[in-house]
Symmetry: C2
Subunit: 158 residues, 2 copies
Amino acid sequence: MNREQDPGLDSVDRHILAELQADGRMTNVELARRVNLSAPPCLRRVRRLEEAGIIRGYHADIDPVSLGWEVTFFALVGLESQKQAVLDAFEALASSWPEVRECHMIRGGGDFLLRLVARDTAHENELTARLTNAPAVLRVQTLQTIRTAKDEAGVPVA
Amino acid sequence: MNREQDPGLDSVDRHILAELQADGRMTNVELARRVNLSAPPCLRRVRRLEEAGIIRGYHADIDPVSLGWEVTFFALVGLESQKQAVLDAFEALASSWPEVRECHMIRGGGDFLLRLVARDTAHENELTARLTNAPAVLRVQTLQTIRTAKDEAGVPVA
DNA sequence: GCTGAAAAGCATCGCCT
DNA sequence: AGGCGATGCTTTTCAGC
């Protein structure tokens, strides 16, 4: 669907990506004005970027606390085996929990980094316990965020 | 700007949040149809959610690889002091790097979890070295993502 | 707080450069 | 490839329930 480092990505495309990353609900007319194009070719470029899989979607960024998710934390989970079946099973289990927002397998074998949300500290403890007691889990290290200095969703478009 | 667990957030509001989290560029008419409202009150609700800070923004989700960011990794950084001035200085330094996308201070003193992007493995090594050599840094543990099973930007709207 | 109509603005198409 | 003009929607406001 998308090639590595697409050659047909000029400075106008990158400008479009930067603008839509900053404000994904901008109208096409406003976007066109900012990148010095008229509306139709601007829209054609956006559609092309979407169809090439370079723009994967658009999402509202919602304040977790407003929805009752008071705690965000990370967990480093170590498994007792590196067998593919064990890794897959843990991955499937973790991914099935709505509180698990990210699940990354870490190089070096048998470790996962998760990002989770919890309603409160008790809920966080419960989630940690559920992780600890999950099949093949050896240890769980929770990394509790006390302050977030920077949290930018995307990537530099330099 | 936003209160904890806003009481004036009914099921229609939550439905709106879920829809815009899934597709932030949906037209207001389509959104209204999905939440069984006509367009004007739907738009008023969206504006209210934006002004209350519950919707913090809208962002295009861009494929990092298409822009040349081949490597995404995390770094656990331990500092040699927990003095506020030292923590603040590290936070300011890390946040100033465009490759650092997230910078979280971790409970327990003197630790930070960063999420970074790099153009390639050499660039990743260079960033790790820059972290290691930064003032007051005691150790850097890189957590290299080899597979991401789940990566949902938002929060459960249940 | 919703509906419905109406004005203004936008998305999108076909054609031309 | 980008621009122009036309058409049909969408957004947004406003009066009235």
